[in-house]
C-alpha cells in the first residue's frame, strides 16, 4: 500500500511525498499499524501524527481510499494491500 505524506512532514521522509509500506495481501492492517510501520522507517513521523498516548492528533486527519478514517473506526480502520492512505493537516481555524 502507499502512504501520501503532507509537505510539512516530508523532511522526515527524505523529501518523498509517497512512501510504500509492504503489506501481505491476505492480512491487511490497521491504520495504527501502518503508522507504526511508517515510523520504523521514518522515525520523525509517529510523534507528529500521534500523541504519546497513541491517539491521532486532534488536528490531523487520515484518509483511507478517500474516506476519513475517523468514520471508519479511527486508528482501527482497516487498510488493504492495495490501499492508498493520506495524512493531512486538518482544515482547522478561525481562532487565530
Amino acid at each position: 500500500m502507499r502512504v501520501h505524506i503532507p509537505g510539512a512532514l516530508r523532511r522526515w521522509t527524505d523529501g518523498r511525498d509517497v512512501v510504500e509500506v509492504a503489506l501481505a495481501p491476505e492480512k491487511g492492517a490497521s491504520a495504527a499499524e501502518i503508522i507504526e510501520a511508517l515510523a520504523r522507517a521514518h522515525p520523525g513521523i509517529r510523534d507528529r501524527v500521534l500523541d504519546e498516548q497513541g491517539e491521532l492528533r486532534r488536528h490531523v486527519n487520515i484518509f483511507i481510499d478517500g474516506e476519513n478514517a475517523r468514520q471508519l473506526g479511527g486508528l482501527d480502520a482497516r487498510v488493504g494491500a492495495g490501499s492508498e492512505m493520506w495524512i493531512h493537516p486538518a482544515l482547522s481555524g478561525g481562532a487565530r
Binding site: 504519546e52 498516548q53 487565530r96
Partner: protein, 372 residues
C-alpha cells in the same frame, strides 16, 4: 536541522543584548549592543507555530531553547546553537507523558536554563501541568513524578490558557529549593530538588467572585537581593512573601486594580518590582485605554505609574504573564509584548518607552539575556 530565519544571521559579541520574543505565529530574535539604540531582528523562526517559551543556555556554548508548538503536529523543545540561523527539532517528541497516564503534551509554557542547578540543566513547565527536567541542555527530558502524581492534582482545573505550569523558580543559592506555579493549581515548593512538593497558599484570599482564586497564580518572581522574599501576581490579588512562600501578604494598595498577568523584579535592587494592571478579570485591558507600567521601590508598599511613550488613549492591549521582562544592564532595560503585536522597550528602568516592533503576531513571551 532546518533554517527558519529571514536570512538575518547573528554573530553576537559578549555583552550584547538578546531579546527573544515568542508569538502565536513564530519567534523573533532581536540583538543589540549594550547601548540598546538599534536592534537587528531575525525571524519569524518556526513560522506558523506558536512559541510559548524561550530561554538561553548562557555559557561558552550558547544555545537558544524554544518551546514551539504546531497546532497540527504537536509541541516540543527545539534548540539552536547558532543564534537562530538553524534549529534542531527532535526527531521524536522530547517531552512526553508516560504511556497509559492519559496525559498528552499540549504546550511548553516555561523553560528555565542557566539556573543554580547547573549549566546543563533545563527545567520545563508544561500544559497539562507538570515539570520536566533535562540534564543535556534541553535535548531530552524526564517527568518529575512527584509533582505529576501530587495528591492535589484532582483539584487542579484548566483556565483559558489550559492547565499550565507556567513558572519555575530555582533558589539562586539553595538549588534544592524550587517553586512551581500552576494555573489553576496553586504554588508548590520543593525543598529536596523536586522529590516532594508542598502547597504555598497561606494568606491568599478567597475571592467571592472567583472560586479557586487562591489556586491561580499568574506570575511569581524572586526579590533581587533576598530570595526568601517573592512577589506574586495572582488571578485576583498582588502579594509578597518574606518567608519562602510560607505566607503571603497583599501589596495591591495603590495599584489601579488587583488583576493582571506579569510580575517583574529588578535584577539587582531589592524591593523594586514592576506590574501591568488590567481592569478586571472580566475586562482584561488597561484602565481607560491608557496602559501603564506600575513600579514599586519599597516591595509593594507604594506604587508609581510609568508610561511616557506609551499610548494615553485607545491602548486596549493585554500583556500576558511571560511577555514582560527586564535585562541586567545599567540602567536596567524593560521589555513587554502585547497581544496586539507591539513590543515596547525602556532603557531607563521604565521611565520612558518606545516601540521596538509594532506589528508582530500576538506576543506570548519576551525573554532577555546578555550574551556571555
Amino acid at each position: 536541522m532546518s533554517a527558519h530565519a529571514n536570512g538575518v544571521k547573528f554573530s553576537p559579541a559578549a555583552g550584547d543584548l538578546l531579546l527573544m520574543v515568542g508569538t502565536a505565529k513564530g519567534a523573533f530574535l532581536l540583538l543589540s549592543d549594550s547601548r540598546r539604540a538599534d536592534f537587528k531582528v531575525s525571524g519569524p523562526h518556526f513560522p506558523g507555530q506558536s512559541v510559548w517559551s524561550l530561554a538561553l543556555v548562557n555559557d561558552n556554548n550558547p544555545r537558544i531553547l524554544a518551546g514551539n508548538k504546531s497546532n497540527h503536529w504537536g509541541a516540543m523543545v527545539s534548540w539552536s546553537d547558532d543564534f537562530g540561523a538553524t534549529w534542531n527539532e527532535p526527531t521524536e517528541g522530547n517531552i512526553k507523558f508516560p504511556r497509559g497516564s492519559g496525559a498528552a503534551l499540549n504546550a511548553v509554557w516555561a523553560l528555565e536554563a542557566s539556573t543554580a542547578l547547573g549549566a546543563d540543566v533545563v527545567l520545563a513547565g508544561v500544559d497539562p501541568a507538570a515539570m520536566f527536567r533535562s540534564d543535556d541542555r534541553g535535548e531530552t527530558f524526564r517527568l518529575n513524578e512527584a509533582l505529576f502524581n501530587h495528591p492535589d492534582r484532582p483539584k487542579w482545573n484548566p483556565g483559558f490558557g489550559g492547565l499550565c505550569l507556567h513558572t519555575l523558580l530555582v533558589h539562586p543559592r539553595e538549588p534544592q529549593r524550587m517553586y512551581a506555579a500552576i494555573s489553576s493549581g496553586g504554588i508548590y515548593r520543593s525543598d529536596d530538588g523536586g522529590d516532594s512538593w508542598n502547597p504555598c497558599v497561606n494568606g491568599l484570599r478567597v475571592h467571592p467572585d472567583v472560586p479557586g482564586a487562591t489556586l491561580c497564580p499568574h506570575k511569581m518572581r524572586f526579590d533581587a537581593e533576598n530570595p526568601s522574599r517573592m512577589y506574586l501576581q495572582n488571578h485576583p490579588g498582588v502579594y509578597r512573601t518574606d518567608n519562602d512562600a510560607r505566607s503571603w501578604v497583599t501589596i495591591e494598595n495603590g495599584l489601579p486594580s488587583d488583576f493582571g498577568f506579569p510580575m517583574v523584579a529588578h535584577p539587582r535592587r531589592g524591593g523594586t518590582i514592576y506590574n501591568f494592571p488590567l481592569v478586571s478579570d472580566e475586562f482584561r485591558v488597561p484602565r481607560d485605554g491608557a496602559p501603564r507600567v506600575w513600579r514599586s521601590r519599597d516591595a509593594g508598599a507604594t506604587w508609581q505609574a510609568l508610561g511616557r511613550g506609551l499610548p494615553d488613549r485607545a491602548g486596549f492591549f493585554t500583556v500576558l504573564r511571560d511577555a514582560f521582562c527586564a535585562d541586567t544592564l545599567e540602567p536596567v532595560g524593560l521589555y513587554f509584548g502585547t497581544r496586539g503585536g507591539q513590543l515596547y522597550g525602556s532603557n531607563d528602568e521604565g521611565e520612558s518607552w518606545r516601540a521596538l516592533a509594532e506589528f508582530l503576531p500576538p506576543v506570548l513571551c519576551v525573554k532577555s539575556a546578555l550574551v556571555a
